[in-house]
Each structure stands twice: as C-alpha cells, then as structure tokens.
C-alpha cells in the first residue's frame, strides 16, 4: 500500500513535468526527471506509459545521437529527452483541427523524406525546387520557414537544411521512407481535401 501511494505520487509529478512545457522547447531531459522523480524515474515513466496507452499516448524517448541498439545505460537515459506523443496516427480530419492544411503536410513529408535520403543534409534550394512541384510558388517559402520555426528542419549559414529535434521526436523516418517507396500513385488528380474530410 505504501509503495502504491509512493508511485501514485510520482506518477502525478511525472505527468506535470512531461505535459506542461517548462522550457522554450517541449520535453524534459532525463537528468531533470531524475531530480524531480528520483533515481527510479525510468520505472515511473514505464508505469505512466502503460497508463497513457489507453489514451493512445506514449512516453517517447529521444536519445542524443543514435538510438542505442541494446538496453540504454543510465548515462544515455539521463542525457535523453522525454516527450509525450501520440501513440497511434492521426486521421486527416484531425490535422485540420491542429492548424495543418493538406498542402502543409504534403510539403513537410516531401522535405523530411528528401533530407533523410540525402544523409540528413540537403541544400534549401533543392528542397524548395521539389516543393514547387506540388505547391504554389508563393507558399513554398512560407511553408519552409514554418517547418524551420516549428523545429522539423534547421538551416545553417550556407543554406543547408538538416533534420531538427521535432522530426526526431515525432516522425518515424525509417517507416516514412519505406512507405514512400512502397506506395504507388493512383495517378488521379488531387481531389478536394476539404470535401473528403467533411464526409
């Protein structure tokens, strides 16, 4: 009973820490969770994750650099960043509620998959050329800036684009590339997305 009360208290604290934004960027570092929840924070996160599963949410761990192949060490966990993300996927209807248009999402998919295929670094000009193929010219720059502002892409002084922190936290890049390669276009015109989602 005492142990149960202990973890209930820790779970509440973990929920507060992870759901409310504490810094400029969302997410909490492992060492911050250790300070707030104690050394057994990975266990607390595991319990929280199983609670969140019922709500289609999950505790996502983003490691510094490559994801460790085996069980992560304490040090790797302390340096990692933890987020609460959607466990499943969104329906097209829901994206509009989040303020994303079909154009924005298609553009984001294009930019991320292209940069991924170029070893995580590609000139902005090349990505913009590709986007112009699908979006009106005046929207390309606006959309690129939005992806950079949101943290999906980063740009350096030489106008090179990189994948940024939000892409690492939210997007399963491997599956994106696999899906892209396995999807065959039905070669039909883009139908009105607005009509589709209002059905």
């Amino acid at each position: 009973m005492k142990k149960k009360a202990y973890y209930t208290r820790k779970l509440k604290r973990a929920t507060h820490l992870l759901f409310y934004r504490r810094h400029q960027k969302p997410g909490v570092k492992g060492w911050e969770l250790k300070r707030g929840l104690g050394v057994d924070y990975p266990k607390v996160l595991k319990i929280l994750d199983s609670y969140l599963e019922k709500l289609d949410l999950e505790v996502k761990t983003v490691f510094e650099g490559e994801k460790p192949a085996e069980k992560p060490s304490r040090e790797q966990l302390d340096k990692a960043r933890f987020y609460i993300t959607l466990r499943g996927s969104l329906a097209p209807k829901e994206t509009k509620m989040m303020g994303w248009r079909i154009d924005d999402i298609a553009g984001l998919a294009t930019a991320i998959s292209y940069v991924t295929s170029k070893k995580g670094k590609a000139p902005r000009e090349e990505v913009e050329d590709l986007l112009r193929n699908k979006l009106p010219g005046w929207r390309v720059d606006i959309n690129m800036n939005r992806y950079i502002r949101s943290g999906y892409l980063a740009e350096d002084g030489n106008k090179q684009l990189y994948l940024d922190w939000r892409t690492r936290a939210e997007i399963d890049q491997k599956t994106l590339v696999e899906l892209l390669l396995s999807t065959n276009s039905l070669e039909k015109e883009d139908y009105d997305y607005e009509e589709e989602i209002s059905d």
Binding site: Y20, S89, T95, L108, T110, S117, K134, I171, L176, L179
Partner: protein, 272 residues
C-alpha cells in the same frame, strides 16, 4: 645527380596533385570513390625512398593524411548505405514527384506522432504576474531613468558617501553590538523572544536586513535559537557575553525563510 633531382621534382609534383585532389573532394563534397586508394599508395611508396629533407618528408606525411581523410569519407558513405535509412535520393525524388498531395499527406500521417503539451497559466503564476505588473513603472518613466547622464568631475565628502550608502556609517561589528543590545533590551526579563517579533519590522526590506544581522548574532555566539517543534515556534535567546561554539559542540545551520508572504502574515497577526 641531376636525374635524381629531376625524379624528386616529379615525385613532389605528383604528391601535390594527390593532396589537391583529396582536398577538393573533402571541401566540395565530391564522390570520395573518385580516388583510387591503392594507386595512390603505390605512388607514395614509389617516391618514399627519395625523400631526405624535412620538407620532402612533410609533403609525404601530408599526402598520407589527406588520403586518410578520403578513406574516412568512403567509410562514412558505406556506413550510411548499409543503414536501413539509405535510399537512393533520385528514387525518393521520383516517388515524391509522382505521388499526389493527398497521397503524400496520408502516408505521412501514418508515421507522424505529434508531441502533446499543455500551455496553461496557473493561478499562482497569474498572481505573480499581476504583482509584477502593478509594480512596473510606466515605460516613459523607466526610459528616463536609463538615459546616460553627463557629469562633471568633482569632490565628495565622507558624509555624502555615507548618505549615498557607498560607505557605511559604522563598522559591521559596531552595528552587530548595537543590534545585540537591542535584542537584550527587547527580551528584558523574559529570557527569550519570538523570532518574528524581533526580526519583523514595518517594511519588508528592513525585516530582511534585521534577519541578516540576526543570523550573524547567532553565528558569532551573541545569541542562540530555540525551536519548539510541537508549537512550531522559534525563539531567540541572547547571551550575556558572546559564547564561542567552535569545537565545543556540533554546530548546525537552520534555514529560515523570510518571504514576503510570511512577513505579510506576521504583519496581519500584529494588527489583529
């Protein structure tokens, strides 16, 4: 003799061309497999017995160093190709061009797991913000204060420095002794006084100053703290003579919070 010099010259030019090729591959991001490592090593090996002077040996070392950088680029390239993330960029580009906007968006939605976060102000931070806002001077007044002021050099007296709080009127020990006398006077025949009754003053700033001096009274052995854990009360008890605690018993530090809320609470208690 002259044929040896000639050979050295040709060898040097050869190595310089290899260095230039490797540098341009590194800097311009060209395909690292343009360099045939085995061929280059053969050339380096061929001329190596000719080198005698330090600058010749240095050129040889520089060639090996540049070649090593290109080998690293080749290794990185192979590593990336062997990962599951590798796909020919042209293939990806072709796919992107063929798929419609809706198809692209739909497949992206399958791999997109957006972060969930709340941005909500709490009643506590709202109260803090209101307090801050109320205390904030109008911007024109603040800007007036920050403007640079031109001043002529002049002389200043000790009294003026004291008035401006640059110099203290009394030494710290004099202040502390006077404060100790005040404590003894306030305690009178009761032996001790409630901490807040002694430290509390009309303004919050003065209270902080008194708490600061009190901490020195206790540390330097002019007084002691007595804590009643049951009643959750804290008393200050002055000594007749300063007592040094060093080495006599274990000295402990007691943190005492002097927040604005606690000062207000004490003030209200006084008024009631």
């Amino acid at each position: 003799m002259s044929s040896k010099r000639q050979r050295k010259k040709i060898g040097g030019e050869h190595l310089q061309r290899i260095i230039d090729l490797c540098t341009s591959i590194e800097e311009k991001g060209l395909d690292p497999f343009l360099v045939d490592v085995e061929d280059i090593l053969e050339v380096v090996r061929e001329y190596f017995p000719e080198w005698e002077l330090p600058e010749e040996l240095s050129l040889d070392a520089e060639t090996i160093h540049r070649l090593a950088s290109v080998i690293k680029l080749q290794s990185d390239w192979l590593k990336h190709r062997s990962t599951s993330l590798y796909t020919d960029p042209f293939l990806i580009e072709e796919k992107i061009r063929k798929l419609t906007k809706v198809e692209l968006a739909n497949l992206f939605l399958e791999v997109w797991h957006p972060i969930v976060e709340f941005e909500q102000i709490s009643p506590h931070s709202l109260t803090e913000a209101i307090k801050y806002w109320q205390g904030l001077l109008p911007i024109d007044e603040r800007w007036l204060q920050t403007g640079p002021q031109k001043r002529e050099a002049g002389t200043v007296t000790r009294e003026e420095l004291i008035k401006q709080k640059i110099l203290a009127e009394n030494t710290f020990s004099e202040d502390l002794e006077a404060f100790w006398d005040e404590l003894k006077e306030k305690v009178g025949a009761n032996e001790k006084i409630l901490y807040w009754d002694f430290v509390g003053a009309n303004s919050y700033n003065e209270t902080i100053q008194r708490a600061y001096l009190t901490s020195f009274l206790i540390t330097y052995g002019y007084a002691t703290l007595e804590i009643d854990r049951l009643e959750e009360e804290m008393f200050i008890k002055p000594y007749e003579k300063p007592v040094s605690m060093l080495g006599k018993k274990q000295v402990v530090s007691i943190p005492v919070s002097i927040s604005n809320e606690e000062w207000m609470k004490w003030k209200r208690g006084l008024q009631n």
